[in-house]
């Protein structure tokens, strides 16, 4: 492991890669602060730029963007109560009241320190957990991989907003269906190309990610007449207040950071859970632990209520890299986009990444830590200035986002048909969003589609066409069992709610 850490340090500390982390954190913070644009869009916008780099530098830039976007999301949550990212919704609960009381600077400082601590503890846990899991994963077979991917897809759907599980599953299936367009990888026959040469290679993941996230999010802002950037301009034009955190306050948040980072990391490792659930769980847990007097402060500007979700969401971001780096299975929409990027660099994530590309594996882990340091010491003091960039009028900003999304995809394929396809997918994504279909399961289904088909083919060929592998191999059976439990969980919740409603109805 020490050898690996040294490799990672040597790779991450080259001037080029250090610049990548800095640029990534800044770009991520800026994009994350933009209304509606989350880390997936931020990363997708960076992918065309990284094609010319080596995989380690590309991944380092994207990891920086990821952290930056989460931090940027926290900033807009605190300053204008408009979380750019779902993972920072809980940050607004206490962060925004603090800003309203004139302590915006302090709230930003606590958010940055909590994010730094959560990310750091997460990176240390990742350093230990990832190589260990990678070793175990080497014994996995095709059937286990397939089962794990199915578990990942169902978990992402099951953990979306309550009542939307079916819609999330439908979005997943749409993603899987789009992944079958193009040439079949094993037999070489064309599927769903309708005779078009432009579809022979299938739909590129970058195109779909850009269209369903960056393009559709920017267009949704136009559709809903979002004027958040003006609110941001107003909020940052005023004084943010002192950024100093007192010793008592530090003493108060240290145990919160400890608890929330461990909770956040493990929630992040779980497929599908991610930063949003981690931040809400940590917030809920802190409120439960708090004394009756402290509990009253929650929602009105409690520093514990701010530190908990901020720590947990950053630790969860780090945790979500565990399944990506060790199993090659993304646990969230963001890591799914990163997986797509890695594959397009010619790097296959999975247990062998650890052996075949140790520089990528360790450099990403080390750069995550570096990213946290840079966010704390460079980004925090610059927040008022970065936030002022948001004052750029919407009528200038949105065409630029559209342009960078379209040209990013065009510069990879040099095919204008892709621009037309993006417009089509963006329109479809807008309609699906308006109908409350989540987009993350769709992109995850699309990216995992090829891998699921490939592993299913191998598993069926090995077992001579019998589906008995699902229950005959214990590990596969356990994972499938977990998948079924994940699917049943929302049903149980509905039945409980109904029973509760019936009982209270009878009681009343």
């Amino acid at each position: 492991m020490w050898e690996g850490i040294t490799t990672g340090l040597l790779t991450a500390f080259t001037p080029m890669n250090l610049m990548m982390v800095v640029v990534g954190c800044f770009a991520g913070t800026f994009i994350g602060m933009l209304p509606g644009l989350g880390p997936i869009s931020a990363i997708a916008l960076m992918i065309p730029i990284t094609y010319g780099f080596d995989p380690a530098s590309g991944m380092i830039l994207m990891a920086g963007v990821y952290y930056g976007a989460i931090f940027g999301g926290s900033t807009s949550s605190i300053l204008i109560n408009a979380p750019g990212v779902a993972g920072t919704v809980a940050t607004a609960f206490d962060g925004y009241p603090m800003a309203q009381q004139g302590h915006a600077g302090k709230a930003l400082a606590i958010a940055a320190v909590s994010s730094f601590s959560g990310g750091t503890i997460g990176a240390i846990l990742l350093l230990v957990a990832a190589p260990a899991l990678a070793k175990v994963a080497l014994s996995f077979q095709s059937s286990d991989y397939m089962a794990l991917m199915v578990l990942g897809l169902t978990a992402v759907s099951a953990f979306t907003a309550p009542g939307q599980v079916l819609k999330a599953l439908i979005a997943t299936v749409i993603g899987l269906m789009i992944s079958t367009v193009g040439t079949d990888p094993s037999a070489g026959v064309q599927r769903f190309t309708f005779g078009s040469l432009d579809l022979v290679d299938g739909v590129s993941f970058l195109l779909l990610a850009m269209a369903t996230f960056a393009l559709s999010e920017a267009l949704m802002a136009v559709l809903k007449r979002d004027e958040v950037s003006e609110a941001a301009a107003r909020a940052t034009a005023g004084d943010l207040g002192s950024m100093r955190v007192t010793r008592e306050e530090v003493r108060e948040i240290i145990p919160v950071i400890g608890r929330s980072s461990i909770l956040g990391f493990f929630v992040g490792v779980l497929p599908g859970a991610g930063a949003t659930i981690a931040s809400f769980l940590a917030y809920g847990a802190e409120r439960t632990f708090a004394s009756a007097k402290e509990k009253l402060k929650f929602g009105k500007g409690s520093i514990r209520g701010l530190a908990a979700p901020e720590t947990a969401n950053n630790a969860a971001c780090t945790g979500s890299f565990v399944p990506l780096l060790t199993l090659g299975i993304p646990g969230s929409g963001t890591t799914a986009v990163m997986l797509g990027a890695l594959i397009s660099y010619g790097v296959q994530p999975g247990p062998r990444l650890f052996q075949n590309n140790p520089d990528v594996f360790w450099a990403v882990i080390i750069s995550m830590y570096l990213g946290n340091v840079i966010l704390l010491i460079l980004n925090l003091p610059l927040i008022p200035y970065i936030a002022r960039l948001l004052a750029l009028p919407r009528q200038i900003l949105i065409p630029l986002i559209l342009f960078f999304s379209l040209i990013g995809v065009y510069l990879v394929s040099f095919n204008t048909f892709d621009i037309h396809m993006m417009a089509g997918f963006a329109l479809a994504a807008i309609i699906l969003r308006l109908l409350d279909f989540p987009m993350a399961p769709l992109i995850l289904g699309f990216i995992l589609g090829d891998m699921i088909e490939d592993n299913l083919r191998r598993a069926l060929t090995i077992s001579d066409g019998s589906i008995a592998f699902m229950w005959e191999r214990p590990l596969t059976a356990v994972i499938f069992g977990l998948t079924i439990l994940t699917l049943l969980a929302p049903l149980v919740r509905i039945i409980r709610q109904r029973r509760g409603a019936m009982l209270s109805g009878e009681g009343g």
Partner: protein, 157 residues
């Protein structure tokens, strides 16, 4: 009976899954491959069945759900979004003929105008500066070739 928006969407997805499955049956398979456990049709057919089941479940769920007043889509700024999408399509179509520089300037200027920017100086300078700056970075620094467009090819050669 009026269908809720959710039920209509679910029916649409059900129809899409059936059409997808029907198309999947037309995927070529090599002679003798039909006896193999896995063919290029297997996965799409399985997806079609899963899609149809989920579509039916969603139809049933939406029909059983209490009728609530759905948020109207009419208040949204559809004309602007529609115009932006049309501009994107024109951007793609003009790329081959007008080349990167001209088509991008036109696209950006159209975008600013559609979103309400009326100051000619801002529209002109923001589109020219961004386009020329991006073009310079791509062609002069990163060495990426951006075609000048078929219309101008004769002049430039």
């Amino acid at each position: 009976m009026t269908l809720s928006r959710d039920a209509a969407a679910a029916l649409g997805f059900l129809a899409f899954s059936i059409a997808y499955g029907w198309q999947a049956t037309g995927i070529d398979i090599f002679p003798g491959q039909e006896y193999e456990p896995f063919t290029p049709q297997t996965f799409p057919l399985a997806l079609s069945v899963i899609g149809a089941v989920l579509g039916l479940a969603q139809v049933a769920k939406s029909l059983r759900a209490p009728v609530t007043e759905a948020k109207s889509w009419a208040g949204y700024d559809w004309p602007r979004v529609g115009l932006l999408l049309v501009t994107m399509v024109f951007y793609g179509a003009s790329f081959t003929w007008l080349g990167f520089l001209v088509s991008t300037m036109l696209f950006l200027a159209a975008g600013y105008l559609i979103l309400g920017e009326r100051r000619v100086v801002v529209v002109g300078s923001a589109s020219i500066l961004v386009t020329v700056g991006f073009w310079a970075i791509m062609t002069k620094i990163l060495g990426i070739y951006l075609a000048p467009g078929e219309l101008f090819r004769g002049w430039l050669w």
